[in-house]
């Protein structure tokens, strides 16, 4: 059918990728649901805790519909979710969509600023490494960034807190942000977590930039460019980088996904109200609707970002853009 419409192959490829993404998302939702079933204990027990009486437990289970079969609960949820209704939290009766809205906003805010700092810095440092390959700037950059990725993030966090919040008092260690703060206050609150996140993701992207460009630098056309008298940096920036963009984008996107879905430790240390902490709290309470919703959003972010990486590779690759 698609052939009949004579779609441009890129459009067809994109459509395929998106369809696959949706399928993957559906599979992920089933997996998450199965995962929550395997957890020991149930939501009623988790809510009432050690002080639960059998009567209160039975009442709560009845009230929450926990006595229905699992597949029925899953289909019911999926149907509502497709209509934009994520349901209400079992543990505190609030609307999940509103709660997740602000949490997701915070997570994206932190991820955005960390990315704004880290991505250009990583690529710049990668370019510098190539320019001064095997000389002291290259070695210094590699050593420092590898050292920072090797330290656990909570350690870096605590060290920064100790010096910059407790000793010097320059920045706050409590990065809680809320709506009534203006942008400047918010930014000053997240200086330390952004620094930690930058240090954690910098090395990966920097090393990949360096490796990808070095790979291209072996090519004959680079030699041509050098021979025609271009400066070293112009060669790297104008001729090598564009052809190395696909692997770099892949790594950048992986790290962006990490910034959205994997920063719970940083959130806890800096008391940042993001998605990670929200999810962990509700897993502990067996609050299945919230866990499902968060899982779905995380999966969507991951799949979506990887989709973008794929598309960028396609668009920047002439062979894929103009097949045959």
């Amino acid at each position: 059918m698609l052939d009949g419409l004579r779609l441009h192959p890129v459009v067809k490829l994109v459509a395929q990728r998106i369809a696959l993404g949706i399928l993957l998302l559906l599979a992920a939702s089933v997996m998450i649901f199965l995962g929550t079933l395997v957890l020991p204990g149930d939501v009623a027990q988790a809510i009432l805790g050690q002080s639960a009486t059998p009567v209160a437990l039975a009442n709560l289970r009845e009230q929450m519909g926990l006595n229905d079969p699992a597949w029925q609960r899953y289909l019911h949820w999926l149907y509502a979710a497709l209509h934009g209704d994520l349901g209400t939290s079992l543990s505190n009766g609030r609307d999940i969509a509103t709660q997740i809205g602000s949490r997701l906003g915070n997570t994206l805010f932190l991820a955005f600023w960390a990315a704004v700092v880290a991505v250009p810095l990583a690529i710049l440092l990668g370019l510098l490494s190539v320019r001064y390959r095997n000389r002291w700037p290259d070695k210094l950059i590699s050593t420092l960034s590898l050292a920072s990725i090797s330290l656990p993030e909570f350690f870096i966090g605590y060290v920064l807190i100790y010096f910059f919040a407790v000793r010097l008092g320059w920045f706050t260690s409590v990065a809680t942000i809320y709506d009534s703060m203006d942008l400047w206050d918010k930014l000053s609150a997240i200086v330390l977590p952004v620094t930690v996140l930058t240090m954690v993701i910098l090395a990966h992207m920097m090393r990949m930039t360096r490796a990808a460009i070095l790979n291209v630098m072996q090519a004959a056309y680079i030699e041509t460019a050098e021979l025609k008298g271009l400066t070293q940096f112009t060669v790297i920036f104008r001729h090598a980088l564009p052809n190395a963009i696909a692997p770099i984008v892949n790594v950048v996107v992986l790290n962006l996904a990490y910034l959205v879905v994997g920063v719970v430790v940083v959130e806890v240390i800096f008391v940042y109200p993001g998605m990670g902490q929200y999810l962990v709290d509700h897993v502990a309470k067996r609050d299945v609707p919230v866990v499902q919703a968060c899982g779905l959003i995380f999966a969507a972010v991951y799949i979506g970002l990887n989709l973008i990486a794929d598309l960028v590779s396609i668009v920047t690759n002439p062979r894929l853009r103009h097949p045959k």
């Binding site: 988790a46 009486t53 409590v174 240390i269 502990a284």
Partner: protein, 528 residues
């Protein structure tokens, strides 16, 4: 020098040191008499409540799944939230007695079966409506409803009827209970308009602060409720609770002055913290218990000799020293201690005695197969280490204890109250009656040692109906001996509550019923 002088001046104000002694110390430290007098005056001024300021509490024990519904509160942060915004009929004070709050007075019939509370007039809810005895009645109905999910359901039992008339609220019990007013002090039983039937989580109650921002698991902010009936409370203009679950983050927030209070201080850093400048460690000897519990109806724990062998094989002093770092007191295999009213302090302390342990173990005739003790970090802080200490000392008495580490997730539903031998904790209860009725009565849901004795149940009921203090004390003493010598409780230690505050805060009075002055820190303290 000044820090020392400051410390002494506070002691004078608290009545722990007389003025003459203070002046002597001041002179010894090289301060002039005038300077010493000024210091003393400052310290005394700090004891007079001052209005104003914005207080910040950095609290662990809060989650984004929390609710403002008092019935559903279960951890420290929400307890502090509802203490800001709500009031009970009565409150347990720091001496263990009762203070009247929304009840102006209470009285009982001579047989302690009918209790009536006179409800205070002129109390307003945050929405401006007056609080009536009908609101009290409805609140109690909501928490005692069998279909309810209230954390107070366990104590709201044995009620025959309740009624409200004029400014009187009356409870008629099926059986006499001399401690009923103490039950009304339960932290879940905060009075809500219309009992909170319509919208239990809307945060409208009658407390000294009203809620402004409610972001569970992140922060809660409050402002003073100007129409509050009691001027001796709610001194801060505004208050803010920040949820900081990470212990290190909580400490750094306190040390860098971003919060005024922090709760749940880990014993291992308490010493360090008490030496930090500008910060005061507040230690409260409490009723919280770290315990190992055996099901007395399950083999091999159905053998009392084996139980006694285990009880003698645990080194309580060592555990207090190593697990609680000295911030606690040794237990005596009974769930109550001297901080409870009517406690018999003459009950001898059970000592660590390997010979007796070995002897009882031999008498029990146990086949030598490993005795499995289940434990997880969530059972109590340091539970796994404590179990290992227990294993080592038991080993010396020839008792083969085997530790099985369980996941913390699901521990309370899968292990506690299900497996025959595990680690656990109990928060205290305000009275001995409640402690025993919650966990040692044959019919109690949480009888986590399966201790079932008709004689014990009878004694409990007798003591409950007994209004004569001496007789009550004797009855409780007899019950304590039964649990100590026949029960399934191995109780190494009572842990202290450890909180911390900056020295910008004045008015701290520890309350053995709970940490953070039994949740009242922001309600009762003020800016120094």
């Amino acid at each position: 020098m000044s820090k020392e002088l400051e410390y002494f001046s506070k002691k004078v104000v608290k009545g722990l040191m007389d003025r003459r002694a203070f002046m002597g110390r001041a002179a010894a430290l090289g301060a002039s008499a005038a300077m010493a007098n000024t210091l003393l005056a400052d310290a005394a001024n700090a004891q007079t409540p001052k209005k104003g300021g914005h207080v910040k509490l950095g609290l662990g024990g809060g989650e984004s799944s929390n609710s403002l519904d008092p019935a559903l509160t279960l951890s420290q942060a929400p307890y502090n939230v509802i203490a800001h915004i709500g009031d009970q009929l009565v409150e347990v004070n720091s001496e263990g007695g009762l203070d009247n709050r929304l009840a102006e007075e209470f009285s009982s019939s001579p047989d302690a079966k009918v209790w009536s509370f006179k409800i205070r007039k002129g109390v307003l809810f945050h929405d401006g409506k007056p609080l009536t005895s009908d609101d009290v009645l409805k609140t109690m109905q909501r928490h005692s409803d069998e279909n309810a999910t209230s954390g107070a359901l366990g104590i709201m039992q044995g009620i025959e009827s309740m009624r409200a008339e004029g400014d009187l609220f009356e409870i008629t019990l099926t059986d006499p209970n001399a401690d009923l007013p103490y039950l009304m002090a339960d932290r879940h039983l905060r009075i809500q308009p219309g009992g909170g039937f319509d919208d239990p989580g809307n945060g409208i109650m009658s407390g000294p602060y009203r809620i402004v921002v409610d972001e569970p698991g992140v922060r809660h902010t409050f402002e003073r409720f100007e129409d509050y009936w009691d001027d001796s409370r709610g001194h801060f203009d505004t208050s803010e609770i920040l949820i900081i679950n990470d212990a290190t983050a909580r400490m750094s927030a306190l040390q860098s002055g971003q919060v005024h209070f922090a709760n749940l201080i880990e014993p291992k850093i308490a010493d360090l913290l008490s030496r930090a400048p500008g910060v005061a460690l507040e230690r409260t000897q409490g009723r919280g218990q770290n315990v190992f519990i055996m099901h007395v109806d399950t083999a091999p724990f159905d053998n009392n000799d084996l139980r006694l062998a285990l009880k003698y094989a645990i080194n309580r002093e060592e555990m207090v020293e190593k697990i609680l770092r000295g911030y606690g007191t040794v237990g005596n295999d009974i769930p109550v201690n001297a901080s409870y009213p009517f406690f018999d302090e003459s009950i001898p302390q059970r000592e660590f005695d390997l010979d007796k342990a070995a002897e009882h173990y031999r008498k029990s005739g146990h086949d030598g197969s490993p005795i499995v003790l289940r434990v997880a970090d969530v059972a109590f802080p340091g539970a796994v280490d404590a179990a290992q200490l227990f294993q080592q000392t038991a080993q010396k008495a020839g008792i083969p204890l085997e530790i099985k580490r369980e996941p913390g997730d699901g521990y309370w539903s899968e292990v506690w109250n299900k497996q025959p031998f595990c680690a656990s904790y109990w928060g205290g209860r305000p009275t001995q009656d409640q402690m025993y009725a919650t966990a040692y009565l044959s019919t109690a849901d949480w009888n986590d040692t399966r201790f079932k004795s008709e004689k014990f149940d009878d004694l409990l009921m007798q003591a409950r109906a007994e209004l004569d203090p001496d007789k009550r004390k004797a009855l409780y003493s007899e019950m304590s001996y039964m649990v100590r010598d026949e029960g399934g409780l191995i109780m190494p230690m009572f842990n202290d509550f450890l909180d911390a505050r900056t020295d910008a805060i004045a008015g701290w009075v520890s309350n053995p019923n709970g940490d953070m002055m039994n949740d009242m820190a922001a309600v009762k303290c003020w800016m120094a």
